[in-house]
């Protein structure tokens, strides 16, 4: 079985697609303002007609590539390609200003390859165990597990829990348009025949994550961004590898932080890279020199960033709870292929799960030669492309993608409506992530809830929805997930109130 999976993953056509996905992800990731989730969403329609393994591998490779690519803009322009690369700017940009841009970019690459590989190895070791544990789950546990996934909205809602949860509810409401899964009757269709088929997930995600993002990028003028020249710096690779071996503790610690944070629902790359950077600085003998061009700072941020990829896929593949939005979109693709996360991924006899993880490991390792010879050069070129050309091109690519999955303009209409609506919601503080998560997890939550309800009715007690050992633990985790941001914001407000009189006294 394992050999079959390895053979599947190392087939030349698969390797070619992994390489293309990695390069594509790294290039989109390098563009400031265009996120990794946008890169994944943009290629959803392309992978939709593919074999499930190929499709998942392309998306996984894009994810891996994008988490690395964001470092290049951070180092060269002091603008993180995604929020995860923010700590990379702290030392990466000063290095570029000192004429050490090449060294910083290679450090980001080395960290990404190391972290990415460690993350996938942990995924390979834990996925089976966690998936086997999920065999103890009934519909009730699956329902609460989905609710736990939805409560990650609390962490994704960037300071506004109420709006985040309302956005999640809106996402679930949109997912309910179409046929009622129990009775097979149309619901919420407003007598519009195309809506009976429901809201296709891929055009909806394209709208929320691509169109809304593009419209948002148009809010500020394109400006003139000229990345600095990357000098030859012949000894850069030797220096980076030397530091990497000498500071193995930074690599191991940052990888562990990345994997652990990645596994927590809702806590994504920005948290992983920030914690990793802070910990590296805290444990360093010369912590004050951080922020002035320490290569360890770049290692810490980028290693954690890419280790988070494997970590975020562990709960997604084993339990169906995405660790972050990227994993949620890959979960959406998994469901679109008619597959279910958990033990069925192992026991379906196709070996797809193992082949996917092996392919992801290949992607993380392949990143080294691809970036060294191609991606770094391409990123510098792409960063010089005026944004004028990017926005309309991405809109066209998303539109044709939306058309391709529905074979009609209906897909494009869904994409445009959700894109423009998603942009408007974003302006009032309801971000795409909670709406998208509701859209992906809503149908699963409904199916498991209805099954649980029928079981409860048959058993004559609605308490069976909650009063089961694993369900109770999951309910407690849901409450914790909702309450933590609330308690943290209360603590911040109290601290501010305490500080306010002190500052008044000082004045």
């Amino acid at each position: 079985m394992l050999i079959d999976s390895i053979i599947m993953a190392v087939h030349p056509s698969v390797l070619l697609l992994i390489a293309l996905g990695t390069v594509f992800g790294a290039i989109i990731g390098a563009l400031p303002g265009f996120s990794s989730v946008m890169a994944i969403s943009l290629l959803l329609p392309v992978v939709y007609p593919m074999d499930p393994l190929l499709g998942l591998l392309v998306l996984g490779s894009i994810y891996m590539g994008a988490m690395y690519g964001d470092a290049n803009a951070a180092i060269l322009l002091n603008i993180p390609g995604t929020a995860s690369a923010l700590p990379t700017t702290f030392d990466g940009f000063p290095m570029a200003q000192q004429g050490r841009a090449r060294e910083a970019m290679l450090a980001a690459l080395a960290g990404s390859v190391f972290g990415g590989a460690v993350g996938v190895l942990v995924l390979m070791m834990t996925f089976g165990v966690l998936a086997e544990f999920s065999l103890r789950f009934g519909p009730q546990e699956y329902f609460w597990l989905t609710v736990l996934g939805l409560t990650t909205i609390a962490a994704l809602s960037e300071g506004n829990l109420v709006k985040g949860l309302a956005g999640g509810g809106l996402g679930i409401a949109i997912s309910m348009i179409g046929l009622d899964p129990y009775w097979g009757m149309p619901r919420f269709t407003f007598d519009a025949p195309p809506l009976v088929a429901g809201i296709h997930l891929i055009p909806a995600l394209l709208g929320l994550f691509c169109v809304a993002q593009v419209l948002s990028s148009l809010e500020s003028p394109a400006g003139d961004r000229r990345p600095p020249e990357v000098g030859r710096q012949k000894d850069a690779l030797r220096k980076v590898l030397g530091t990497m071996v000498r500071r193995w503790d930074v690599m191991v610690r940052s990888s562990a932080i990345g994997v652990l944070i990645g596994m927590l629902p809702g806590a994504g790359g920005p948290i992983a890279s920030t914690i990793s950077y802070n910990e590296t600085r805290r444990w360093d003998r010369d912590s004050r020199s951080f922020g002035t061009g320490r290569v360890e700072g770049v290692f810490a941020s980028e290693t954690a960033n890419n280790a988070m990829v494997g970590g975020s896929l562990i709960p997604m593949m084993a339990l169906g709870i995405p660790g972050n939005v990227n994993a949620a979109v890959i979960l959406g693709a998994l469901l679109s292929f008619g597959m279910r996360p958990g033990m069925s991924l192992i026991s379906d006899g196709t070996g797809i799960a193992t082949a996917f993880m092996i392919g992801l490991l290949i992607s993380s390792l392949l990143l080294a030669p691809l970036a060294y010879f191609i991606i770094i050069r391409l990123s510098i070129l792409v960063l010089r492309v005026p944004r004028t050309y990017l926005a309309p091109t991405i809109l066209i690519f998303a539109s044709v993608g939306a058309y391709s999955v529905t074979n009609s303009s209906y897909g494009v209409a869904i994409m445009a409506a959700l894109g423009i609506g998603g942009y408007a919601l974003r302006r009032i503080g309801i971000h795409a992530a909670p709406v998208g998560l509701g859209l992906i997890l809503g149908p699963i939550a409904e199916r498991e809830f209805t099954s649980s309800l029928l079981i409860a009715q048959a058993q004559g007690s609605y308490w069976t929805l909650v009063m089961r050992p694993i369900s109770l633990v999951l309910v407690a985790l849901c409450l914790l997930s909702i309450m933590t941001p609330l308690l943290l914001s209360m603590r911040d407000r109290m601290r501010k109130r305490r500080l306010a009189p002190d500052s008044e006294k000082q004045q």
């Binding site: 919420f188 148009l218 302006r427």
Partner: protein, 142 residues
């Protein structure tokens, strides 16, 4: 325009949508009605709470930097027009959308930049057509 009127209008629209869908969900036979009613009820409550908080907060800053509202609105309108035109002829609609889009977003227009815009539009249209129509076998409208 400040951010608050837009916020109130959108939240009111979400609340209204929830009420309309709840009325429809009420007519669904059990057990299918429970989940939609619960989700819509919770969403309605959260939206009303968000409205309450918004009304108590400061009016907020300006919605757009000067001149940028026009860019965003034209892009959104252009996308909707493209969604309609695409069903007639993919290649023509895409080329026109891209070319006009590039021209609209160009900060300085010169004969050279217009030519580059036309070439990039042709290349991007050709690339998407080759990818989807030829490689993936999608029958794009023609």
């Amino acid at each position: 325009m400040t951010a608050r009127p837009l916020e109130m209008a959108l939240l009111a629209a979400i609340a209204l949508l929830c009420i309309i869908l709840m009325v429809e969900a009420w007519q669904i036979r059990p057990p299918s009605q429970v989940f939609p009613l619960a989700v819509l009820g919770i969403t309605l409550a959260l939206t009303l709470l968000a409205m309450l908080r918004a009304s108590a907060s400061s009016p907020g800053g300006r919605l757009f930097e000067p001149g940028r509202a026009r860019v965003v609105f034209v892009a959104a309108a252009g996308l909707m027009a493209y969604a309609l035109a695409m069903s007639i002829h993919y290649v023509v609609a895409s080329f026109v959308f891209l070319f006009l889009g590039y021209l609209f977003l160009l900060e300085r227009r010169s004969p050279g930049s217009i030519l580059v815009a036309a070439l990039v539009a042709a290349a991007a249209t050709g690339f998407t057509w080759l990818t989807f129509d030829v490689w993936l076998g999608v029958n794009l409208p023609r």
